[in-house]
Symmetry: none
Subunit: 224 residues, 2 copies
């Protein structure tokens, strides 16, 4: 029997989904918070997970990331918001599909079936991030320039991912220290050094960076 885990904080919606899924022949389990959902999935993995995005405490995106870290289970987001930004963010976090409330149970069921049959369809439709000739694939853990893999260290990779995630926006050295290194405080020159090393690897002409640019007095940003 195919088991489905439903992570949704609204009791009425959760119960309705559970009942409908049971009706469709699934074995459905509910969780009201992300934490509970993660625990259940660890203890008794379901075949599919449905996640709401608006959850108290740990939000849906983080929940998806953590689920994905442990497991390859197909994840379907069920959200009230039909917003492109949300959809992209959810898929990038590792979701496989996205449906908007109110959901037709038959459609949901069909999507689950399709996911089971075809594997991770939509996830493959979210390609690695591309900046000109630069490709960043978190899944493969690699960076490519003009199609060729570039060897990047872990710190450099995290730094690049962080910059890519906020592409086009400046990130200060303080922000980068916090987000990449987890340092609340520290020597900002550290960032310079790693940016420099990264440039050596990903920029055609490291002395005249085109993607990873410096904004004097502000920080760095990654641009297309």
């Amino acid at each position: 029997m195919t088991a489905v885990l439903v992570i949704e904080d609204d009791d009425r919606i959760r119960l309705a989904l559970l009942l409908a899924l049971e009706e469709e022949g699934y074995s459905a389990i509910g969780a009201a918070t992300a934490e509970e959902g993660l625990r259940r999935q660890r203890e008794a993995p379901a075949d599919h997970v449905l996640v709401d995005l608006m959850l108290p405490g740990l939000d849906g995106f983080e929940c998806i990331r953590r689920l994905r870290r442990d497991d390859d289970v197909p994840i379907v987001v069920v959200s009230a918001r039909d917003d492109t930004h949300d959809i992209v963010a959810a898929l990038e976090a590792g979701a496989d599909d996205y449906v908007v409330k109110p959901v037709a149970i038959k459609e949901l069921s069909a999507r689950l079936r399709a996911l089971r049959r075809r594997g991770r369809v939509l996830a493959d439709a979210v390609p690695a991030q591309v900046f000109g000739e630069l490709e960043i694939s978190a899944e493969a853990g690699e960076v490519r320039r003009a199609g060729r893999p570039v060897a990047v260290t872990r710190t450099e990779f995290r730094l690049l991912c962080e910059l890519a995630e906020h592409a086009g926006r400046v990130l200060s050295r303080q922000q980068l220290l916090r987000r990449v290194w987890g340092y609340e405080t520290g020597d900002e020159r550290l960032v310079d050094v790693h940016v420099g090393r990264l440039r050596q690897k990903i920029e055609p002409d490291p002395a005249n960076p085109r993607h990873l640019v410096t904004l004097r007095g502000l920080g760095y940003k990654l641009q297309r």
Copy 2:
């Protein structure tokens, strides 16, 4: 009359299954060990085989492989463990379906019917994979390099299958420990050692791996 062979070491469960199956109109035969089951199937082939995974002596996975080597009979695993890894491993070994104890006899009967109707649905979803000169035939439980069979141990095989299933993607040592060994926590060096042994067998130049590559700080991945 449709004949079913039940390979299950627990007497009570085996007898209960046999009775229930007879009730459903099947002709049911029991076997308490894998060896006995294999012998019976050779001597008087049944139309379906139910196998428990936890068997004394030859375990369920090996039993499935041997059954599959001789025969195309639909094999259903009946296991107490509802564990993704077991399910995948069983299907890769050549099983066609997987049900978790305690089983509802009606469900089991329906699954047998479905299997008869649709043929080997699930196993077909796990074809042989090819990585350059490397071939992994999950169904045959066999690895070939440049056409020649390579003897890999069970652990090595599972490790390879797990990597192959996520080809191109990095798997952390933690993920591999969980998925291949079922360890929630453990010494990550263990993974290194087995990766090393696997490389000795499948890489032309183990010191410079081309397929099973290390991503320092991240984990391992299998690539084409």
